[in-house]
Subunit: 245 residues, 2 copies
DNA sequence: CGCCGATATTCCATATCGGAAACAACGATG
DNA sequence: CATCGTTGTTTCCGATATGGAATATCGGCG
């Protein structure tokens, strides 16, 4: 099972999607609409009509010239270039979500302050952003939002905005080119009878692995910002699972 | 301009998207395919064919019964329910990206270790995940990935996996129901001549605002994990901008 | 003034989508 | 045991959207 998405920017009536961005890039590269149509193996009419449609909502995107020794050509306006950058940033942000591991912890909401909920899980109370009407939620924690600390160097709660803290033991490392996935078996809460040992995955740099001397068996403290922990309503079912990729 | 996305899960050949999930939910609610078709105002044949198509790739999703006093009916299998939960989690994760502020810092790549790049920005070196071929990148930092610390309580670099650290002054607070957006004017790097004062936005809980006594004018240290800072290639243009919503 | 390469426009083939209608299964009911 | 009602299954047809071939238009340059 593979996570994916189609990002788009909605501007007034039109939606700018992947193929539109691809089209603008091709126009920029080729210097003409017809060239872009050839390069993308799309028909010229549709491509040109699409440009017109986008421009009706967004404003001038392509500066067109006809005639001349080379027959003319087209170049992107500043508006179009800004659009491309916007889209790239959007994709980068979403891409991060798609490529990163997530850990889910579920349990009942025991306290609530607006959209901020305290969830009782098998590893203790977790503070997370959750829909206001949910009585039981599954909290999703992205591995790139998990920070690790040496047990002796844990920041005092009074001095940091990070609100969730878990103690655990490293069980495995998955070393990549520059980043390392770290599997952590969390300490269960004292009054919890959970069957499955709750696991948390963190994504850290290889340099952090060396600095903190991370290795299987070592005790570690993981921290997660409440605003990075997102809960979804889960009023029927119940499970603790880790979702690889 | 509005960010949006269409999430989907790809399983073998089929992609299950929003409408598929909506369909399965309706089947669950109504207890029959025909009821779901009525509720969604979709034609029965297409709906039924879609269920069959999904099942061919994913496996049994709907337990169907024909005949009986009530004419029969359908209920979801465990596979289908798990699919719904998966999808909810996916949406929650993407939703977080769409709703959160982002700060972009750009500059040249001065060092690189695989997909991890050190980027020279107007506020100093930033460690971020970036495409391997980019010489100049824009680093995007989501506000929910920014942690704040009292200047006297900054964790030692040797004891934490958090690699980016910025000093700054709080310039504004936007207090919501439970969470607060914090605007921070970053200290410029000594040898930088940047024109715009670089601004970082952090998203923290209201309780953190009280604990850290956050208010305009106060000095603060912001930290960001390298794996949560994502860079995009930006080899032509150059700007520092903050993108609200 | 004709040429050339590019931009606009018209029109048609095709695939996809959605729905109406007929058909089959099955248990309750009399 | 025939009938009935509800639901699942299948077939077929029309509407809509998508993509492309052919055509017309433009304008500097030689």
């Amino acid at each position: 099972m593979e996570k994916a998405f189609d990002p788009y920017l909605r501007i007034d009536d039109v939606t700018v999607d992947r193929s539109d961005v691809e089209m603008l890039r091709a126009i920029d590269d080729c210097g003409s609409l017809s060239g872009a149509a050839d390069a993308l193996e799309r028909s010229y009419p549709r491509l040109q009509q699409r440009v017109v449609a986008l421009e009706q909502s967004i404003g001038p995107l392509v500066e067109r010239t006809r005639g001349g020794a080379d027959g003319g050509g087209s170049s992107l306006t500043e508006t179009a270039r800004e659009l491309l950058v916007r889209f790239d940033r959007l994709v980068a942000a979403y891409e991060g979500v798609a490529r990163v591991d997530e850990t889910a912890l579920s349990g009942p909401v025991v306290d609530r302050d607006g959209e901020l909920a305290t969830v009782e899980t098998s590893v203790g109370a977790v503070l997370a952003v959750a829909p206001a009407d949910a009585a039981r939620v599954a909290v999703t924690i992205r591995s790139d939002a998990v920070s690790l600390h040496a047990p002796s160097e844990v920041p005092r709660p009074e001095g940091t905005s990070v609100r969730n803290r878990f103690s655990g033991t490293i069980t495995w490392l998955d070393t990549g080119a520059a980043v390392v996935r770290v599997g952590i078996e969390l300490e269960r809460d004292t009054n919890s009878d959970g069957a499955e040992p709750p696991e948390l995955v963190a994504l850290v740099t290889r340099q952090s692995v060396e600095t903190l001397e991370l290795e299987p068996g070592r005790s570690i403290v993981a921290s997660v910002k409440a605003t990075a922990a997102r809960g979804i309503a889960r009023d029927e079912l119940d499970a603790v699972s880790t979702d690889a990729n």
